[in-house]
Amino acid sequence: MKLVKLKIIILLLLILTSGSYAFAQSIVITGKVRGSDTGESLPTASVAVKGTTHGAITDMNGEYRIEVKAGDAVLVFSFVGYETQEVVIGNRTKIDVVLKTKASSLEEVVVIGYGTVRKSDLTGAVSSVKAKDLTKITSVNPEQSLQGKVAGVQVTSTSGAPGASPVVRIRGVGTFNNSSPIYVVDGVILDNISFLNSGDIASMEVLKDASATAIYGSRGANGVIIVTTKTGVKGSDKPVFNFSSEFGIQNLSKKINLLNGREFAIITNEIVSGTYNNVDAVPNTDWQSLVFKPAPMHNSQFSISGTTAKTEYYLSFGLFQQDGIIDKSSYRRYTIKANNTYHLTDHLKFGNNFTLAPYQQQNAPNVTYSVYRAQPLLNPYYADGSYGVVYNVGNPLADLANSNNFASGVRGVGNIFGEYTFLDGFTLRSSYGMDASFGQSKSFTPAFTVFNPDGTASQQQNVLSDIYKGNSQNTSWLWENTLNYTKTFGKHSFNAVAGYTMQETKSESIGLSGENVIRNGSDFWYIGPSYIYDPANNVNTIQSISNGVDPNEYYSMLSYLFRVNYTLSDKYMFTATFRRDGSSKFAPANRFSNFPSVAAGWNIGRESFMEKLPIFSALKLRASWGIIGNEKISYFDRFARVQSDIVAVIGDPDAAIAAASYGKSGNPDLKWESTKQTDVGLEFGLFKNRLTGEFDFYNRVTDDILVELSTPGHMGNGLGQKIRYNAGSVLNRGFEMNINWRQEIGEFSYGVGILGSTVHNEVLSIGGASGVDSLLIGGYLGNGQAVTQSRVGLPIGAFYGYKTDGVFQTQAELDAYPHSSQAGVGDLRFVDTNGDGKLNALDRTYLGSSIPKFIYGFNFELSYKSFEFSADFQGQLGNKIFNGKEVVRPDPYNFEQHVFDRWTGPGTSNTEPRSSFGGYNYSISDKFLQDGSFMRLRNIMVTYTVPKALTKKLKLNELRVYLKGTNVYTLTKFTGYTPEIGSYDVLSNGIDYGTYPVTAVYSIGLNLSF
């Protein structure tokens, strides 16, 4: 009886306390989950009963409550960024756990094209950078954050001008034309991401090998960067508000050592004797100090994110402002972001990702060049305050004062998508994305004259005021439809995706320029007959009108894609990918092409024999092969077009009449450029994943390169006009490594990361059977001289010129050596490299390459209690920089300091020739080639997190303040402003043309969430 009673009571209890576990015995377990790093509670961590789908989530205080059945033995605790921990329940009802931060990234989920995959299941070479590292560098360009963070990726600034975009190269330079990767932002394929605020990005994934990029087919040959923006955090129904703000000061990181007034006068007197009677009496102007001034930058962002029962949302507003260190240059960008997902049913969801980015920009004229050239013994101003003449280059201050060059616009990028899951494991997804931008530019230069000291007009003069107005609009749409199937049965798991995509892009611009605006004020900066009046001719003049499509942004594409992943026993992975692309850029016969790839991976760490090697916590080997394509050419390269902007002047009186003729020829036989890439990778974790690492070897051969080649003058294509051919192949081969160590000792933790990559770049062929140019000349300096030649056996854009071996000391020495007719005693001695006893153009030879032999980065992180310290270094070795700005000397310009050590008689110098304003000694030679190796302290940062106890009182989740420096220190032998000399033109890379200097930035910031 007692027993029966007891049974009934138990039954009643069970009924009362259980939901789905009715009629089974259950107990309630409670507890708190904390993180080992902060010791603070972890909200939204997941608690599950092992072997079931039953689970719970911790609340805002990190506390949970879960009911378990009697038979349940183990609870599994997990949270993003922490190691999953299993706890045997035993007979406890209160279980507190401390989750260890994840030392390894091997269990991360990685975004790949059209899907995601666990890092451990990856068969391709993919590197991931998460949000925390993306906001370390204050820049308008999120790509800057990849620098020194991903092996095999080189990010190089092209200019320090506000708003300037860097050049990104993945695994070397794969082609002679556009070598930039493509970006996929929330599924929308784009050429650049300058509209994105780094703070809105959740992660950036760099797809490097053919297996990873093949799903993007023709778009992927130069790598793919997938950008995933932030969404509402699942599981927190309380909204999270986040505010961050940062203020920084930019400085010229170094000055170029130029001659002062006295030294310049001494040199001038040696060239033209008696120019300056008293070299001690000449003025001395430091033009660099006059032009470069510290400038502020500021970045603020406010965001709200969260979830409700059926929606996830993320909304943000950002403002980025940057003034340039040169007057009249600035950039301001607002970003508005809205990412939402709506779960209509368990099987159907819709969502959107939108960014709207209006911007305003002011561009300064390139006075860096004139600052470098301006003679130091000229005064910037006359006694009356007017601008002083600066012979040959113009007074940079006057140029700045008269410059009014503005650009503004708005860019909107976004997509809407629907996802429907049906049957068992099928997902149908359709996404429609748009990228639309509108831009306006205007510039106005008033009439002005800088006078010579004698009161006459100097060459720096604008007789009539000039005005230019331009408008552009760009629209691109992308519609993607994919069907995904995921199935696991037994040891086998499948994931397959198939689909098709369509894309169309058009960009159109219109520009007008006029002269002689009636007044100088900005109220009159419009083009209309009443404002434009040319008194000389008594007629209204509109100088020029231009209208047309952007030839690189007018195309359509149709693609079919397919990929299958198969995993056996969680140990053996296989991937096969196929994409078929059709592009409007090619004639119908060559329009479509196929891009296949295969890959395999072996998770050695999961083999049972590895249990004997407990030192290994993970070990994986992977290999891939595939073909990817490139079609980044102008839509009209295949057409032979008629040039219709020709003007003839016929008649008495002279009259301008229309004319048209054949423009340069086209090439109707153009087809896809294709890259075959092989990759072998090894990933490992040692000492419980404290030490993790990844090694990759790759071999990448690009064939049928779409290259523009010079044609002989007799073709009549006109000076400098080139025709595109499929003619060339290039090899990139290299090794990449990435090693990280991370350890926690109580409240102290630290980490060290090292990454490095090598590139061997070699041109395998140019021209080929097409019978045109067998070499590519590039790196034009603007005076007809070209610095690079790309030839078979040399790297792309190799520096090519004379080798020097000293200075001719005496007439006897000059007579004894083969020399140019222009050489005299005291001039540089060029080497007769072909040994024919004559010195001529045939003696020019390979001097070096702008492509570094080794790119590296290393970083440190320390944290102790509330303090965090990090330092990121980055650098490269073995590349050369050509000092182009020093060579172009049609007129007497100032010199760099080394010129003062000139040859003045036998034995005085064997490196610096006699003084001259230009000419022979300034031929393209290794004299102007410098070692471009550098090591840079890219970022140094100290963060203080206000203790939880205090923030709780303030009703805040978190409050952090930090100090940081960017580009703080650079160790280099290069004499220019920065050894980072980037160019979009792969044939002009590593040439210092005297661009806007890249700055050092010191900033202070705060980040708070509530």
């Binding site: 149908l428 169309e504 016929i650 002989p712 001289q785 007129d891």
Partner: protein, 494 residues
């Protein structure tokens, strides 16, 4: 319901990409024709013909931009301030250039661009259905201009690749000098047959080639070939046509007043605007400083100044000196240019002065762009006739035309420039050359006159001219590089 949604979604997604997918991937040139369909109408033919004229107004057509032909002669120096383009244009003055010299590639490519535009008309227009007479006139204009371009090429570089089609092979070796001249003569023969007389031309067609232009060019080409009979014939055809005469006032021959005038046999139309319809030829040489009329290249030499006969008014009409007032504008000059330069003995080597042949009234750079460069003027034709007649042993006839030029230069002043009476062939040849120097000074003739008469070694040797080398310019190094050895450099330039 669910099934319906499913079916709809599936069918929409599957069918859409197939519909119209061929059109979807067709993107034609926007705002531009392709070459297959041009020229196909009479209006196209006119556009294509006009385009051949555009090249002669291209800055690069003028010996690559800078007036290197005068600079290489004994009539002129680089000009501008001493250091401006010292290392690019400077070496032409003393024959220190190499195959990579500035401007060679510009000149070469631009002449061939003009040839291509001519070939479009010559090759494609015959198939267009239109009035036959107009068609042949257009082809004749193109052939005349093609002759102009090849004449520059053959004089500057000797035998060059000959292109007579719009689709030449990529690799093409140099033809011989004679073959190039043969093509020029054939083209001019067709032009003479089909071009109208100047008097038959309406005013709005001035600037287009006429029969007289072609005959005059033929006479000049023959002179360079040493074919004096042809030269005499053609020059006399022009003279006897009665279509041309000398401007009464010498300065009008190159000045604004004489544009498309009676002395103009062939000239380059240009409007007073920077760029587009303007011509930078005169701006390059315009007065530097105050008034700011240009860059100030091509500085008349002391040798030229001293070579004029006493009282020859053409000296003043050729050189703009500082302090002079022209058309009400006082010439002050450039602050960065020394007024005088001296040698060790204190003799003037150069002085700041400018080429008056390109002068256009005004005080800014813009009007200078409107200067119409006279490629062939009647005075040149008269002197060609005189030279050819003298070579053909007809000195008396030669003197008629020579003295006609001197008579105009005299400007009614009987005290100067007396009629020439010399009939000795060698002496008269020298006198005619001197007359050419003074009448046509700073117009780009002198260097080639010195070369074709074999005088260059003697006259220019002291400043660096090497006989057997400097008669021709070096083929641009970039062209040699691209040709992969097909183009062979001129003698002694390697």
């Amino acid at each position: 319901m669910k099934a319906l949604i499913k079916t709809t979604i599936a069918s929409v997604l599957l069918i859409l990409p197939l519909a119209g997918c061929t059109d979807f991937l067709q993107k034609n040139p926007q705002g531009e024709l392709t070459q297959e369909v041009f020229p196909s109408t009479p209006s196209d033919v006119l556009l294509a013909t006009n385009a051949v004229y555009s090249t002669i107004r291209d800055w690069y057509f003028n010996s690559g931009g800078y007036p290197i032909l005068d600079i290489m002669s004994d009539d002129s120096h680089k000009g501008s301030n001493p250091n401006d383009q010292l290392t690019t244009v400077g070496p032409y003055d003393n024959f220190k250039i190499t195959a990579t010299a500035d401007g060679l590639d510009r000149w070469w490519s631009t002449l061939y661009e003009g040839i291509k535009r001519a070939n479009v008309v010559i090759e494609k227009v015959p198939a267009v259905v239109m009035d036959e007479k107009v068609k042949n006139e257009c082809i004749a204009e193109a052939k005349f201009l093609r002759a102009i371009y090849y004449f520059d090429l053959v004089r500057a570089w000797g035998g060059v690749p000959i292109v007579t089609t719009v689709t030449p092979p990529l690799q093409l070796a140099r033809a011989s000098k004679d073959e190039v001249y043969q093509l020029i003569v054939e083209d001019l023969g067709f032009a003479i047959q089909n071009l109208p007389l100047r008097s038959a031309q309406t005013l709005d067609n001035r600037g287009r080639a006429t029969k007289g232009s072609a005959q005059a060019l033929m006479a000049k080409v023959a002179l360079f070939q040493g074919l004096f009979i042809t030269s005499e014939e053609q020059a006399l055809e022009v003279i006897h046509s009665g279509e041309y005469d000398l401007e009464p006032v010498y300065t009008d021959a190159n000045g604004v007043k004489g544009e498309h005038g009676i002395e103009s046999v062939f000239e380059v139309g240009a409007m007073q605007v920077e760029g587009t319809a303007g011509d930078q030829y005169a701006n390059t040489q315009g007065v530097r400083g105050t008034p700011n009329r240009g860059w100030g290249f091509n500085r008349p030499s002391e040798e030229l100044r001293n070579s004029f006969e006493a009282g020859d008014p053409r000296l003043d009409a050729t050189i703009i000196d500082l302090g002079e007032t022209l058309d009400g504008v006082k010439i002050i000059g450039d602050g960065t240019t020394p007024d005088f330069e001296y040698d060790d003995k204190g003799n003037i080597t150069q002085r700041e002065c400018y080429n008056q042949k390109v002068w256009v009234p005004g005080n800014n750079t813009i009007t200078q762009w409107g200067h119409n460069r006279r490629l062939i003027r009647y005075a040149d034709v008269l002197l060609i006739a005189a030279e050819a007649l003298n070579e053909n042993n007809k000195p008396a006839d030669a003197l008629v035309y020579l003295n006609k030029v001197r008579q105009r230069a005299r400007g009614g002043n009987p005290a100067i420039l007396p009629d020439i009476t010399e009939t000795g062939k060698a002496n008269l040849r020298k006198i005619i050359m001197e007359e050419r120097r003074h009448e046509l000074a700073m117009e780009g003739h002198r260097f080639w006159d010195l070369v074709r008469t074999g005088m260059a070694g003697e006259v220019l040797g002291p400043v660096g001219f090497v006989v057997g080398k400097n008669e021709l310019l070096p083929i641009p190094q970039t062209e040699i590089d691209i040709s992969q050895g097909i183009l062979v450099q001129n003698p002694n330039w390697n």
